[in-house]
């Protein structure tokens, strides 16, 4: 890097500017919906010629839109909580125990990250249709748990690698049992990495569209699926309001993640 650009302030500024331009270029399509969402409720237009909240009003009064939003939040919340219950102890066991097939198990947990989502969606569709889980919240949550588990595990495992084993040793010598050590010594130290993992998982589940599209129909439909189908059938400007809301939510979560990571770097 240095050999190519030197290390002068100028070249550093150039690189920073280029990076920012890239960000803006990538963000622009998402940002453009924000002004549109405050514009004419009759049709999509840019730049908007009036400022109204009519589209938001439409969104919050239309049961179909509003309901799929609630469904998405429900699925994301339940998915995140169940994944935490599953993945945190699993990560702890994988990192700290001397299980003989540790690496195999680790690979197994990481698998959903490697399989193409579309293949996963198809597989789940075929399997769930046998079990009567299609178009159910349960089915959707189960599949999202599969997708989010590796992310929480990675976050927690890296947290564990940074935490001090001698604290667990000393607790054990003081007479604490494994569960006591887990809840009173390990978990408090993992708070930040668990929170980061949980926010990621929540975000993933919230805007996951491929698997949800395979698995849901009218009953369990989530917001991204509803958006996707409405693009295909009606292309209503309400989409702009929905997109703005989703962007805002994602932004908040991303800021939360950044803040948490800052905090853990400041006092590990």
């Amino acid at each position: 890097m240095n050999a190519l650009f030197g290390s002068s302030r100028l070249s550093r500024n150039l690189i920073a500017t280029a990076a920012w331009l890239c960000y803006v270029f990538l963000l622009l399509p998402s940002l453009i919906v924000i002004p549109i969402s405050f514009g004419n409720p009759g049709q999509i237009e840019f730049p908007p010629r009036q400022f109204t909240l009519a589209l938001y009003q439409q969104f919050f009064t239309d049961q179909a839109w509003w309901g799929s939003m609630v469904q998405s939040l429900l699925v994301a919340t339940v998915t995140t909580m169940l994944t935490l219950v599953l993945a945190v102890p699993a990560a702890y066991a994988l990192v700290r125990s001397q299980l003989p097939r540790r690496n195999l198990l680790r690979g197994l947990f990481m698998m959903p990250m490697l399989v193409p989502v579309i293949v996963l969606g198809l597989g789940l569709y075929l399997q769930f249709s046998n079990w009567g889980l299609l178009d159910t919240t349960t089915g959707l949550v189960l599949s999202h748990i599969m997708l989010t588990t590796p992310f929480i595990m990675v976050s927690v495992m890296s947290g564990l690698h940074h935490s001090d084993v001698s604290l667990e040793t000393v607790a054990s010598i003081m007479g604490a049992s494994r569960p006591v050590i887990f809840f009173r010594v390990v978990l408090p130290q993992l708070k930040a990495s668990i929170a980061v993992g949980a926010l990621f998982a929540f975000l993933m589940s919230l805007d996951e569209v491929v698997v949800a599209y395979f698995l849901t129909g009218t009953k369990a439909m989530t917001l991204p699926v509803k958006m996707y189908s409405s693009i295909r059938w009606e292309l209503t400007p309400v989409l702009a309001a929905v997109s703005t809301l989703l962007t805002l939510l994602s932004l908040l979560i991303a800021l939360g993640i950044i803040a948490l990571q800052r905090k853990t770097e400041a006092n590990p």
């Binding site: 001090d164 001698s166 040793t169 000393v170 010598i173 003081m174 007479g175 006591v180 009173r184």
Partner: protein
């Protein structure tokens, strides 16, 4: 610092004499193997109740391994470990009823000082008010009551180590293990803490097993020193026994400084033995081990048992002063002998002491009874 008599611990009410002799820990032929490496080789060791035992030895000699075996963090490859009368060879760590102090303190960063010390009591399901009382008492004992509400990272290293000690003594474990607990502290603080730990041991009567590679620390603190070398116990005994009666060259070199002169055993002298060396033949006291004339052996003379002034009945060797350094209360002379080996002579520093200069011809002497015959060093 002063330590008030402890009332925190419901210690086994003033132990009767007989109990003092009972074993707290017994290692029977314990071996620990890591792949090809034998970290411990068939070690037998008994620690009596109330004793302060120090494991001393160079880095890699197996001290931590021995401690971790007793703590139950690792299990022996063979042999048996008995703690307080029951077989603990495979007993889980948390059921051994021990305490441990680490070099890095190992205090819980997410708990206050009070919560840290309360933790082992909560694990034992003591009632809240009793926990509060005990924690406050032990904080008073180490005179750190004013930091109860702080987090460990807000304290100095010395304070943190005292807290981690308090966290041990608060639940009165049968045995406290300490793995180089003062290794991270500077010299002054370390000496102060040595005395404080010793004081706590004397007041509370808890059995302590202490690990260090620092001979001064071992000599200061211990009832008994166990000297480790290459996974084996080289020698054990009271500090003065190890100092004055080292059994091997390794012991002599590890504890205190020493002049070691190799030679061949011959008949002669008051005890009937003398040692023929490259710098002369010297009478030696009777040996603790079997020797006969013609054997190789080592003569040990501590520098502080030697003088440059000579006197009646003193054996001596001639040489030339190489260097003479002042160490405050003592002066250390480096005497070069005719075979180019160096003998160190340490004398008390007195105002009327004749000044030795580089190149001075001297005679380094010692009373034959203060010398010691050792078997030649065997490679481990």
């Amino acid at each position: 610092m002063t330590v008030t008599p402890m009332t925190v611990t419901p210690a086994p009410a003033s132990a009767p004499v007989a109990e003092g002799d009972r074993a707290m820990v017994e290692l029977q032929g314990v071996t620990k193997r890591y792949g090809e490496v034998d970290a411990l080789k068939r070690v037998d060791l008994t620690i009596r109740k109330g004793e302060f035992v120090t494991l001393l030895g160079p880095s890699g000699s197996g001290k931590s391994t021995l401690l971790n075996l007793i703590a139950g963090m690792i299990t022996p490859s063979s042999g048996r470990i008995v703690i307080d009368g029951r077989d603990a060879t495979t007993l889980p760590t948390n059921q051994r009823g021990l305490g441990m102090v680490f070099q890095n303190y190992a205090l819980m960063p997410h708990m206050t000082v009070f919560e840290n010390i309360a933790f082992p009591l909560q694990v034992r399901h003591l009632p809240k008010d009793e926990i509060k009382r005990k924690v406050e008492q032990v904080l008073d004992l180490i005179q750190l009551g004013h930091v109860a509400g702080r987090r460990p990272r807000e304290l100095s290293g010395g304070q943190q180590q005292r807290i981690s000690l308090a966290r041990c003594i608060v639940y009165n474990p049968a045995l406290i293990l300490m793995d180089e607990p003062l290794g991270a502290l500077d010299k002054n603080l370390r000496e102060q803490m040595q005395l404080e730990i010793k004081r706590l041991h004397a007041d509370l009567g808890i059995t302590m097993l202490y690990v260090t590679h620092d001979q001064d620390e071992a000599l200061t603190m211990s009832d008994r020193i166990v000297l480790m070398n290459g996974g084996k116990i080289e020698q054990q005994g009271k500090p003065d026994e190890l100092y004055f009666k080292p059994a091997t060259v390794f012991s002599a070199e590890f504890i205190g400084s020493s002049n070691l002169i190799p030679g061949i055993v011959e008949a002669g002298g008051v005890s009937g033995l003398s040692l023929r060396t490259a710098i002369g033949t010297f009478p030696v006291p009777a040996a603790d081990f079997a020797v006969s004339t013609g054997d190789k052996a080592m003569l040990l003379v501590r520098p502080e048992n030697m003088t440059l002034t000579g006197g009646p009945g003193v054996t001596s060797v001639s040489g030339r002063i190489d260097d003479s350094i002042l160490l405050g209360g003592v002066v250390r002379h480096f005497v070069r002998c005719k075979d180019q080996s160096t003998i160190i002579v340490q004398e008390l520093n007195q105002p009327d002491r004749p000044i030795a200069k580089r190149g001075d011809e001297v005679r380094a002497g010692w009373p034959p009874a203060h010398a010691r015959l050792l078997p030649p060093s065997v490679p481990h």
